[in-house]
Symmetry: C2
Subunit: 350 residues, 2 copies
């Protein structure tokens, strides 16, 4: 220990000083601070302790040159509201992603993208140029989505949570099939005796809402029925409430309404109740996501459990795999399942 | 335009080629790609367009050396559950932070820290050494918190959301006073006629729960009352449900219960109702945060609105200010306010 201490008097400590003090090779020190290779936790701690004692820190730019790794992945959420909101379903998604990143000391670089407020392409380009993330998880794919080509051009590995608008453009994670949950919901409502079922779905132009609307209509046709109505509104409680009011104002309102998300369904229930109608006696309601909040509302919400945590975890596993990491954890992705609670019941005879 | 095109044949394009094509100085190109200085959006777009045409990208490590900026801030959340959960209140916080970061093309590097699963100090050290963030927003301060000294040692600007355990250790954002909302809640319950009020509060050892427990007891004393009970449990619905069961099992249960968070309060309400008791007729319930979900449950939750979005926004503004950014946006931080809904009422006479 005389050597490093002696060296410190004459200049900045070097990686060799740290290696000597910790009793390891300089390469091992490099691995500890670059997060590359495999170093046992006790050895890594000894290296860090030596670095602390010598007040040595690696040159970050040198690390970047050596490793070309940001040790972070990006998550891009889009929000059509005036503020960059992180929706309730995204909480599960983020938690699932973190469940794989956190143990690897990867950071999650969150970017909430306000639709129409940024030059989206310039934004991604800037992120890639700055080497701020090693790969990116994308959400909310739209028909004609250009982000996948852009990511390929930029050399940034990408995984989509959801289904892309055409095959082969990007790696992705989704239920198999992506419409899973819709046929089961239609069967449940028709089985209860509903003939006038409406679908207040997510925005037009988005891939998954499109797929779900088609599956909804197809499954009703399977039962010899046509939809009471299918509407496309923004992913927001306010938009769902407004559309619900419109549906209840028609001469023959639906006896059951399926909503694009749980929060939309809850806003729909409140709208129905605010008019003096009862859920499910007057109108049955079904949500789509399986958020915990569905158990807390009155009546408890019938919904499709889509396992947001698992989706996030599976997306992170796929992306880390593309980055060359070994994933030893289990990353199951269960098929979405209809959870029947209190918000659905047979329709009253008219 | 001949010159840059000619140069490309003979080697990699340079920053001067991009400057020439865009009709600006090399310094202006540098500013656009470093995110430093002030460049008008049209000029910036012209520079990016020129870079695209020439297929020129800046050397990221060179940028790091020049600017020493990650153009990202960190947000550290802690979770005591087995998985890295992002709590409901954190959604508002993240959205508020993003409302200032997103327009500046700053990223938010999210790190969910599992209490007891990491060497926390080594983790922060690693983040700082890798120059992955320019500053950090911390949450969930504990008594004796060592993170602030660590951040100072590492040279990483930090802002705490909450109140530090002793004055002067870190910049912070909190309500003034940090106990705001507690006296108002006690006054509301006592005004309704409650004499046996319990507080199921957050974990022992955390700063804000400590402050709130003291404020609760002090305000009851102001009315000549003592608490029915004050308990410290983990920030989780399950812990709140368990503690509620315990309170209802005693010979003289409380007639009103204040909970440390809204989700704890909702879990408490469900526990009360599952025993055949009614809220608020048998037990009044008050939450603490003001999440939107409080409007959706039955009965609607009386709670203290604490404006998580504003807290996030104010913390981001303070941190960006420490980093030398000019904040022109409004960053109000309103005083927490009691929202009386349906979950509180006069106690039944015994």
């Amino acid at each position: 220990m005389t050597s490093p201490a002696g060296r410190r008097k004459h200049g900045r400590p070097t990686i060799s000083d740290v290696a000597a003090l910790a009793g390891v090779s300089a390469g091992a020190v490099s691995k500890v601070f670059n997060g590359t290779g495999r170093i046992s936790p006790p050895t890594a701690e000894r290296v860090r302790e030596a670095a602390r004692k010598l007040n040595w820190t690696p040159n970050p730019a040198a690390i970047a040159l050596r490793t070309s790794r940001a040790q972070a992945i990006g998550l891009v959420l889009t929000s059509s509201s005036p503020v960059p909101e992180v929706g309730a379903a995204n909480v599960g998604l983020i938690s699932g992603i973190e469940s794989l990143l956190s143990p690897r000391e990867y950071g999650l670089l969150l970017n909430v993208f306000l639709t129409g407020h940024h030059d989206e392409s310039a934004f991604y380009r800037s992120l890639a140029e700055r080497q701020r993330m090693d790969g990116v998880i994308l959400t909310n794919s739209v028909v004609g989505d250009t982000r996948f080509d852009l990511m390929r051009d930029l050399g940034v590995p990408a995984v989509l949570v959801g289904t892309p608008w055409k095959p082969g453009v990007v790696d992705y994670i989704d239920a198999d099939p992506p419409s899973a949950g819709i046929p089961e919901t239609v069967d449940h409502l028709v089985g209860l005796g509903h003939r006038d079922v409406a679908f207040v779905s997510g925005p037009a132009g988005f891939v998954l809402p499109n797929i779900r609307r088609e599956a909804f209509t197809a499954r009703l046709a399977h039962h010899g029925l046509t939809p009471h109505s299918v509407s496309s509104v923004g992913y927001s409680p306010a938009a769902a409430a407004e559309e619900t009011s419109r549906l209840l104002d028609v001469a023959a309102p639906p006896t059951a309404i399926l909503y694009g998300t749980d929060t939309m369904a809850i806003a729909g229930m409140r709208t129905i109740q605010s008019r003096g109608l009862r859920v499910p006696e007057d109108v049955s309601v079904v949500g789509f996501e399986g958020l915990e909040v569905g158990e807390w509302v009155d009546p408890q919400l019938t919904t499709v459990q889509r396992f947001a945590f698992q989706r996030g975890r599976a997306a992170a596993a796929k992306l880390l795999g593309l980055l060359g990491e070994t994933i030893e954890e289990d990353v199951p992705l269960e098929k979405p399942v209809l959870i029947v609670r209190q918000s659905t019941a047979p329709p009253r005879s008219r």
